[in-house]
Symmetry: C2
Subunit: 122 residues, 2 copies
DNA sequence: TGTGTACTTGCGTCATCATGCAAGTATTGC
DNA sequence: GCAATACTTGCATGATGACGCAAGTACACA
């Protein structure tokens, strides 16, 4: 199959290779903020998250809103406090689906190597 | 644990949440080119890949070089033809490691949902 | 009702990056 | 050697995006 034919061939990987998801993760500041939230393991307010980073509070607010828009975080408002929490299940599932979809296209000769790292040795 | 404490706490997710990887995937043109190569399942020349996309040839050349720099593609040169191939195993492993690392931080109450999609029902 | 806290939004600025064109390099075949 | 092919690189341009400041909104509490 030529790349031109491949382009016309519709596979799960097409939807999963969604640039919008990666756009949310490609900024160093956002990656850091997300890392804090992931490791924290509980919903956090904007004020709390802002303490992780030396950027302006407004920047943190915007980054968190963007991550929410990408489906990576979920926001809940209680009074004047907005709590952001990591969508662990959704994020893990999306990443694994992408790995599965890529693997699905992987030629047989390499398929074994692809499976490493999933419920096996790493 | 506060986000500030979490920031100081070193976990596998810190390294895996690498913005450079996502930077390579966040451009729509690059995502499309990578999608073609993934679905194609074999090494392709720059000329072949360029047929997938309506952008200038030089743009494709640059995108492929960038994807190689990110470790997503591998390049081999035979004569005047450069063939790019998807690093299936590395890419899948990285994505799954990231999912594992995120899951590792996931509170117990949500952990079950995180595991869905990996060697289980989806 | 006023004051303080928590967050969002508008705006200007600076940096990065995607793109196309043109020119350059490398390699093949005649 | 010369032309053609395959690709890379330099450069200018336009678009996008990250950032900080300042102003605005929403809510709680006295």
């Amino acid at each position: 199959m030529s790349p031109r034919q491949a382009a016309a061939c519709c596979r799960p990987v097409d939807d999963l290779l969604n640039p919008d998801l990666f756009k949310a993760l490609c900024d160093p500041t956002r990656a850091r903020l997300l890392g804090c939230l992931v490791k924290c393991g509980r919903p956090c307010s904007v004020t709390e998250v802002a303490e992780c980073c030396s950027v302006d509070f407004s920047v943190v607010s915007r980054h968190l809103a963007l991550l929410e828009g990408a489906g990576i975080l979920a926001a809940t408002k209680q009074g004047r406090v907005v709590s952001y929490s990591v969508q662990y299940a959704h994020l893990c599932r999306t990443l694994r689906k992408l790995a599965d979809a890529i693997e699905e296209c992987c030629p047989a000769s390499e398929a074994k190597a692809c499976k490493e790292g999933c419920c096996g040795k790493r």
